[in-house]
């Protein structure tokens, strides 16, 4: 029941020497991915739905996430708590998360219990039962969750405001958990309508990672998920798209609780799904080159050389259905104004746009990102998330397995071209400021 607004790092899971991956589709349209990992006698079982907060209907923000909570409330076959008790008895763990583009449910159990968790997910894909006695207290839980994550934290409030400014139309501008005033109005009818629209086999992806073979998984998937009637077609995601942006916007938040100012800049860039060939790989590498740790450009220039920041970094949310976000952020050194820091960041970005990057830096970034694909093989849960997130946002298994080769092929010229996608025009800069800063200005 956690909410994870961030997509996992790009689908770096595949390598030629990686684990065996099978992929097939049931007759009712439900996709299945199996990632074998025979080191420990456990399995990770996930069902992903291709709908997230960006598919919330108008005035119903938060419904994807609210329904995720309500999916634990019982089915017509089994009352609330039956499955959670069963999973706990098996020594299993379970949870769920909602993001912009998908909602996912998972269990981690000993390998012999795979059929049990499949029966669980298959049952609640079609047989959910909701009544006011369970729905209404759960809405209070979600409102407390929102208070905990956002209302208590000026940085989180700024984050919401920056996203709302960046996306004037597209629902990526709305918080995954929803706006408080809209969550308050959600009821079981909203939840059930949403459930019936999106929780269908055509819209679902099963990911199993662990100590099982295709010969074991395929018949189980047929029995439990294959029995669910097809609806005929996959539900359509209806999303207002973003018009061209002409203005740079500055969003400031000052709060008495802020003692440490910070800077962020967000740009709208192509996602894995909307990018032209190769653009996504270049953006992945660019984010690593600009802000992936202590050898990155921003850290070297702003923290080590100019000493105007104590931290700096970058992040590209490549896994997304629509055009997505590229973040730059920095924490100023004592006494440095955010405006000065912003100018220095823009200067570094402009330098990359004009001159590209060093071959040695690019080689180091590639080494690191390709190694990530090897490190990922150490965790079946990580692999399951990467494959699930990639498929739920429209990528395919082949694009995941080819990823290291594509990263290897990126040239300095393509990095430069990717840097030109970060345009100040249309970007949003966010400043988190102390109240003192306000006093000094006025």
């Amino acid at each position: 029941m956690n909410e994870h607004a961030l997509t996992p790092t790009p689908a770096a899971a595949g390598l030629a020497a990686g684990p065996p991956v099978s992929h097939f589709t049931l007759a009712n349209g439900m996709e299945v991915v199996l990632i074998e990992d025979h080191r420990a006698p456990v399995v990770t079982h996930m069902v992903w739905y291709r709908n997230g907060s960006a598919d919330d209907p108008p005035m119903k923000s938060g419904i994807a996430h609210f329904l995720e909570h309500l999916m634990f409330k019982g089915t017509k076959n089994h009352e609330k708590g039956y499955y959670s008790n069963l999973i706990a008895d098996l020594g299993g763990q379970e949870n769920a998360f909602t993001s912009n583009d998908y909602t996912a449910y998972f269990q981690r159990v000993a390998r012999e219990h795979l059929a049990t968790v499949m029966a669980y997910e298959a049952d609640r894909m079609v047989n959910l039962v909701l009544d006011d006695a369970t729905v209404n207290p759960e809405r209070d839980v979600v409102l407390e969750e929102r208070r905990m994550r956002t209302d208590n934290d000026p940085a989180a409030q700024l984050q919401e405001a920056v996203h709302a400014a960046l996306f004037t139309q597209h629902p990526y501008g709305k918080p995954v958990i929803g706006w408080g005033h809209e969550i308050e109005t959600l009821d079981r009818h909203d939840a059930m309508a949403y459930y019936q629209r999106f929780y269908t086999p055509e819209n679902a992806i099963l990911v199993v990672a662990g100590d099982v073979t295709r010969a074991e998984v395929e018949p189980l998937a047929q029995t439990h998920y294959g029995a669910i009637p097809a609806r005929g077609e996959r539900p359509v995601r209806l999303r207002p798209q973003e018009p061209p942006a002409y203005a740079h916007r500055l969003v400031e938040l000052r709060d008495a609780k802020v003692e440490q100012p910070s800077h962020q800049a967000l740009y709208i860039v192509p996602s894995a799904l909307t990018a032209k060939a190769g653009e996504q790989d270049a953006l992945e590498l660019l984010s690593h080159l600009l802000g992936g740790g202590q050898t990155s450009l921003l850290y070297r220039k702003l923290v080590l050389e100019q000493q105007i920041a104590v931290a700096a970094g970058a992040y590209y949310m490549g896994g997304a259905v629509d055009d997505t976000r590229f973040f730059l952020y920095a924490v100023p050194a004592e006494g440095v104004e955010l405006e000065a820091l912003d100018a220095a960041i823009e200067e570094e970005l402009a330098a990359v746009q004009r001159h590209g990057v060093d071959e040695a830096d690019l080689a180091r970034a590639k080494t690191r990102m390709i190694a990530d694909a090897v490190y990922a093989q150490d965790s079946q849960a990580t692999l399951a998330r990467w494959y699930g997130a990639a498929l739920a946002t429209g990528e395919n298994v082949a694009s995941i397995s080819e990823w290291p080769q594509r990263i290897s092929a990126v040239t300095v010229d393509r990095i430069t071209a990717a840097a030109h996608l970060l345009k100040r025009q249309g970007a949003v800069t966010g400043y988190l400021k102390t109240v003192e800063a306000e006093a000094n200005h006025e």
């Binding site: 008895d89 020594g91 000993a110 839980v141 440490q260």
Partner: protein, 427 residues
């Protein structure tokens, strides 16, 4: 971990662990596994932030954070380039009782990874520019969380629970203490705390025992033979029955609560794990989850846990709820703690908790880094490798009488130290 679970046949985890000793006596626990071509190394020195010199809170944490900021002939930038050129992950951290390190590398780069680790441990430079930079980063982090309700309630809890004791201050220091830490402080702590006699090491992955023995010698043998540490007094937490409120202008309050716990080696510890699981250890199935979240919608998060430090043991828990409902939440939590202390769990709860705790243990061993972390934990806590198998046997053996006795010891009269950050109403 290749053995399959079969009915009546429990696989032995301990049998997969080799104890590898270098020529001069540096020992590590090794799980050799070639399925994924990587190595994971975890280690801990049994001396942590409780060793901070008076008024220099945060010094041990700073020392740990500086170990990878330049060593030998490499300054900080050159050291990080050397790591990144080969995709080697190396980090150091500190908690109250330990300075610990984590290394992960591709198997083909293991020799370079061990060489850089050896440099970091034996020849850290503690350059002035790196020292000032990392201090500034620590202060920025402290400012960032200065009014964060989770941090504020934790600080107040610690201060009330451990007055005048090293556990009463934060491992990360304070905004006032960190700037005053000098290079001499850091170098002195490095020389005093990092030694072979308080070091525990675990390695998992694609490396043979013979190769590991050589690397252990190269990396760890040059350390001092014996640590020079201050004795930390054992302490039982204070201020039971008291409620401390830290005022923050928020609509929601963050509530922490705690009581004394049981020692990891206490004969009732397994039973204490079981009754804590019944109270607030499990999500979805625990009493606190059911009563606070499920029935009343009071909070998103509510839990309890056993916390064990070298010199103190606690039962702690937390929740967050809107200011108007803090009193109600605390009443529900107190009632559940008292009831469990008086009556113990039901037979069904006891059975379910034991099943969960034993069944889920395997999930702590599904990645190399997690296995290495577990193996270091067992060593620092003073267990032998046999505990890997004994742990579930001990939990399975917990009877209702054991559970009632442990519940009575753990929850006793139900008195709590409560630390609240926010503007709670009606207390």
């Amino acid at each position: 971990m290749n053995e399959l679970s079969q009915a009546g046949l429990t696989p032995s985890r301990a049998s997969r662990v080799q104890k590898v000793t270098s020529p001069s006596g540096v020992t590590a626990w090794l799980v050799e596994d070639y399925a994924v071509p990587i190595i994971a190394v975890d280690f801990a020195f049994r001396a942590g932030a409780a060793q901070d010199p008076a008024g220099k809170f945060g010094a041990v944490m700073l020392m740990a954070a500086l170990l990878d900021e330049g060593a030998g002939k490499l300054d900080a930038a050159a050291f990080h380039n050397a790591l990144d050129d080969k995709a080697i992950e190396l980090s150091f951290s500190a908690d109250r009782d330990h300075v610990s390190g984590h290394l992960r590398a591709l198997a083909g780069e293991a020799a370079s990874a061990f060489a850089l680790l050896g440099l970091a441990l034996n020849e850290p430079r503690f350059d002035e520019d790196a020292l000032e930079r990392v201090k500034a980063q620590m202060v920025a982090g402290l400012k960032h969380e200065a009014n964060d309700p989770d941090s504020v309630s934790a600080r107040a809890f610690r201060a009330a629970a451990f007055p005048g004791h090293p556990y009463g201050h934060a491992a990360r220091g304070t905004i006032d203490s960190v700037p005053g830490i000098t290079r001499a402080d850091v170098a002195g702590l490095h020389a005093a705390l990092l030694a072979r006699d308080n070091l525990r090491i675990a390695v998992v992955g694609a490396i043979s025992a013979a190769t590991l023995a050589q690397e252990l010698e190269r990396v760890f043998a040059p350390l001092a033979a014996a640590a020079r540490t201050r004795a930390i007094a054992a302490i039982s937490m204070s201020a039971l029955g008291e409620t401390r409120v830290s005022d923050l202008d928020l609509t929601q309050s963050t509530v922490r609560f705690g009581r004394p716990g049981l020692d990891l080696h206490d004969p009732d510890y397994s039973a204490a794990m079981v009754v804590n699981h019944v109270l607030g250890g499990g999500i979805f199935t625990a009493r606190l989850f059911r009563e606070v979240r499920e029935k009343r919608g009071l909070a998103y998060s509510v839990y309890s846990q056993l916390a064990n430090y070298d010199r103190s043991d606690l039962l702690t828990g937390a929740t967050t709820t809107k200011n108007e409902r803090v009193a109600e939440s605390l009443e529900v939590i107190s009632r559940e703690i008292k009831a469990l202390g008086q009556d113990g769990p039901t037979a069904e709860e006891l059975d379910k908790a034991k099943r969960y705790l034993t069944g889920s243990y395997a999930l702590r061993f599904d990645t190399s880094s997690k296995i290495a972390g577990q193996l270091v934990f067992l060593q620092t806590a003073g267990f032998d490798v046999t505990q890997l198998d004994a742990r579930n046997v001990e939990i399975e053996a917990v009877t209702m009488a054991d559970a009632r006795r442990a519940a009575a010891r753990l929850f006793g009269d139900g008195k709590l130290l409560v630390s609240i950050a926010g503007r709670p109403q009606g207390l």
